[in-house]
């Protein structure tokens, strides 16, 4: 298989996302958010999306603004997140924001559910005293939008500092992974001992535009 993974724009890389898709977006408090991909997603005419995204709580980021915009535009039916920023529209009783259901999940369990999916397991049980026999199942993800620091043309990827967060695990879990990278490098540039996400998990690559870097 030799297929070219490079796409000249976010729009081209994301054009086959359809209504009802489950989409994972990397990021932690603004670090490691694929801004170009998120902004493109917000402009697409899609509905009934299921979004897995760690919504920032300390600061407002472009990512969180776009997610709120998409909720207002009624594009998201379910938001799966470890945290949700205080929002006047959020009803704690119904766990709804407008027409979007918010499903809270602890970071540890979210990461593990993604790994269960990525590793092909059927489910896991923690060795725990109190909660005991609760089974954790995998979480399906059609598309992962991740943020890379450097990616080579095969898709091998490294991250930068705490921007790593959910990118590696989402890349493994998703059916299609789209990496927005700051730096597209030649094959052989990255040290094989230091590559965090092997190219087999990265299907499409888009270079961060100067514009979304400034934002």
């Amino acid at each position: 298989m030799t297929g070219n993974k490079l796409y000249t724009s976010c729009a081209l890389a994301m054009r086959d996302i359809v209504n009802g898709c489950t989409i994972g977006i990397s990021g932690n408090e603004g670090g490691g958010e694929p801004l170009g991909l998120i902004c493109q997603l917000a402009t697409m005419h899609l509905t009934n999306l299921r979004i897995i995204y760690n919504v920032p709580v300390i600061k407002q980021t472009i990512g969180s603004r776009m997610i709120h915009q998409m909720i207002s535009d009624d594009k998201i039916s379910e938001l799966i997140t470890p945290s949700y920023p205080p929002s006047e529209a959020f009803d704690v009783n119904t766990k709804m924001v407008k027409n979007t259901v918010v499903n809270f999940i602890d970071h540890s369990y979210l990461a593990e559910k993604l790994r269960i999916k990525g590793a092909g397991l059927g489910g896991i049980f923690y060795s725990s005293d109190s909660i005991g026999d609760k089974e954790y199942l995998g979480l399906n993800m059609d598309v992962a939008l991740i943020k890379s620091d450097k990616t080579d043309t095969l898709g091998n990827t490294v991250y930068s500092g705490s921007n790593r967060n959910y990118s590696p695990i989402m890349a493994i879990a998703a059916h299609t992974t789209i990496a927005e990278t700051n730096d597209l490098v030649e094959i052989g540039t990255l040290d094989p001992e230091c590559i965090v996400t092997p190219g087999i998990f990265v299907n499409r690559i888009v270079l961060t535009s100067e514009k979304s870097r400034i934002d």
Binding site: N28, E29, G30, G31, N54, V55, V57, I58, K59, T81, P82, S83, Y84, P85, P86, F90, V92, N93, F104, I105, D106, H107, S108, Y109, L110, A111, E112, L114, R115, I116, A119, G120, L121, G122, G123, I124, F125, Y126, S127, S128, S130, I131, D149, V158, Y159, S160, G161, S162, N163, R164, N165, Y166, S167, P168, I169, D191, E193, C194, V196
Partner: protein, 458 residues
């Protein structure tokens, strides 16, 4: 009344050497500023930092849990969210220091943010929770309440609450005052926080101990003999390596043979076939592998994916011992072995895998049909000791590997009580790239440098 720095010092006084501490948002994010670079403490944050750091005035590529730019201290590591999760669920965290929004008299607390963060798993998998918080919020309302707001997610655990005038202990049984500043009565405290609260029978005046650094990390042992001296008879020992001599801790294997512990259960990819395969071995020599333990009658059982020689005409020591009825074998598919090792280190008791379903491997195991496909339930593996082979380590125990020598090393290290690594060299802390450290020092207990004149051949 004590200030925030003093509250932090009070929290630090509850820590012991080699603790791994998860830091929440708010006041806890200031804690690394009060700790010396070489102290044997490892901090972990939601954002993926593991180690120590200083808050930076300039933008960096790294942020702490509070969104401050930070500069990592030498020997710190960056991890992804799933690795942070594994550290928590694998019970590698001794203490969780957090700053709740409100505490109820029931002993539960709520956080400022909606949602969960890591709090549900932290309160479940960490036994000791330390809350550092102010008595009153910014509007002057008490942070201690009779009843918690039902609309918010409550977390329950056991631990200590440190405030500017009092220390409390909390548990599902409720709240009690254990320390109070000398010039205040319990009644004064109750008026201040607006709730009735009991004092512990052993209540003492609240003092802030002078910040006393916890010493220096030292994991380097002089020899394999010294590092494996305390392996008891009947121990479960993980041994890294793939099939050939690569990635095998030959020096430690010799030390374990010379140490002589009996009735060992060994967990390894093979049960020693490097010797019969002899990839790259000079003529007339035999490479050191598990066989030296089997020949020395130290092994009772092997858990392995590739226990026999590829050629029936040159059987391995384990094969001969098995045929003679001297050893037991648990055969595990290779991917399942890696997953069982990972489970052991990450708090997963068992998992469903499709590998081996409908074969002899499935005998006696639970099965389940998921989406029309059969899965079998496999359990996690843990060990008392683990001997691994690294390339470079720093004094904190951070390890990198060389080429395919990595194999099972990285997945075994977190699964054993005591992990001993044999490395080519110990490098100054800060030499290893924090982005490229494969095994964090929190998983490595003892470091042995492979002697320069050591030969892996006998």
């Amino acid at each position: 009344m004590f200030n925030t720095t003093e509250i932090i010092d009070k929290a630090l006084s509850t820590l012991t050497a080699n603790d791994v501490i998860f830091l929440g948002k708010g006041i806890p994010s200031l804690i690394p500023t009060r700790v010396l670079e070489h102290e044997p403490l490892i901090f972990v944050t939601e954002s993926g930092l593991v180690g120590k750091w200083t808050i930076s005035n300039e933008p960096t590529n790294t942020e702490d849990s509070n969104g401050n730019y930070v500069t990592l201290t030498n020997g710190s590591v960056v991890m992804g969210s799933s690795e942070i999760a594994e550290i928590i669920t694998g019970r590698h965290i001794q203490k969780y220091i957090t700053c709740p929004d409100k505490i109820g008299t029931c002993g539960s607390f709520v956080m400022k943010e909606h949602g969960l963060g890591f709090n549900e798993s932290l309160t479940r998998f960490v036994d000791d929770i330390i809350c550092v918080m102010h008595l009153l919020d910014d509007e002057g309302n008490s942070n201690f309440v009779q009843t918690l707001d039902d609309n918010r997610i409550k977390f329950t655990g056991t631990g200590t609450i440190i405030t500017e005038i009092a220390v409390f202990k909390f548990s599902p049984q409720g709240l009690k005052v254990t320390e109070l500043i000398p010039d205040l009565s319990l009644k004064d405290l109750q008026i201040k926080i607006g709730i009735e609260i009991d004092q512990d029978p052993d209540m003492i005046p609240m003092e802030i101990p002078k910040r006393c650094p916890l010493g220096v990390i030292d994991k380097i042992f002089k020899s394999g003999e010294e590092a494996l001296n305390d392996v008891p008879d009947g121990a479960v020992v993980m041994i890294d390596g793939f099939a050939g001599p690569g990635g095998m801790a030959h020096h430690l294997l010799v030390s374990l043979r010379d140490q002589g512990a009996k009735n060992l259960t060994i967990i390894s990819n093979t049960a020693g076939i490097a010797r019969v395969v002899n990839f790259g071995t000079p003529p007339g020599k035999l490479v050191i592998d598990h066989s030296i333990l089997i020949d020395n009658k130290q092994v009772k059982k092997a858990i392995a994916s590739y226990p026999v020689s590829p050629s029936s005409s040159s059987p391995s020591s384990f094969e001969l011992a098995y045929k003679a009825g001297e050893v037991e074998l648990e055969l595990v598919p290779q991917g399942t072995l890696a997953e069982r090792l990972r489970a052991g280190g990450t708090g997963v008791e068992s998992f469903y895998t499709p590998t081996g379903a409908g074969t002899l491997i499935a005998e006696g195991k639970d099965t389940k049909i998921i989406n029309g496909k059969e899965y079998i339930r496999e359990t996690g593996l843990k060990a008392d000791f683990c001997v691994i082979r690294g390339h470079q380590a720093d004094a904190l125990g951070n390890v990198t590997y060389k080429g395919t020598s990595r194999n099972f090393n990285a997945v075994m290290a977190p699964s054993a009580t005591i992990t001993v690594v044999e490395v080519d060299e110990v490098v100054p802390t800060g030499t290893l790239d924090p982005e490229s450290i494969v095994t964090s020092g929190m998983f490595v207990d003892r470091i042995v440098i492979r002697p320069k004149d050591f030969s892996p051949y006998e």
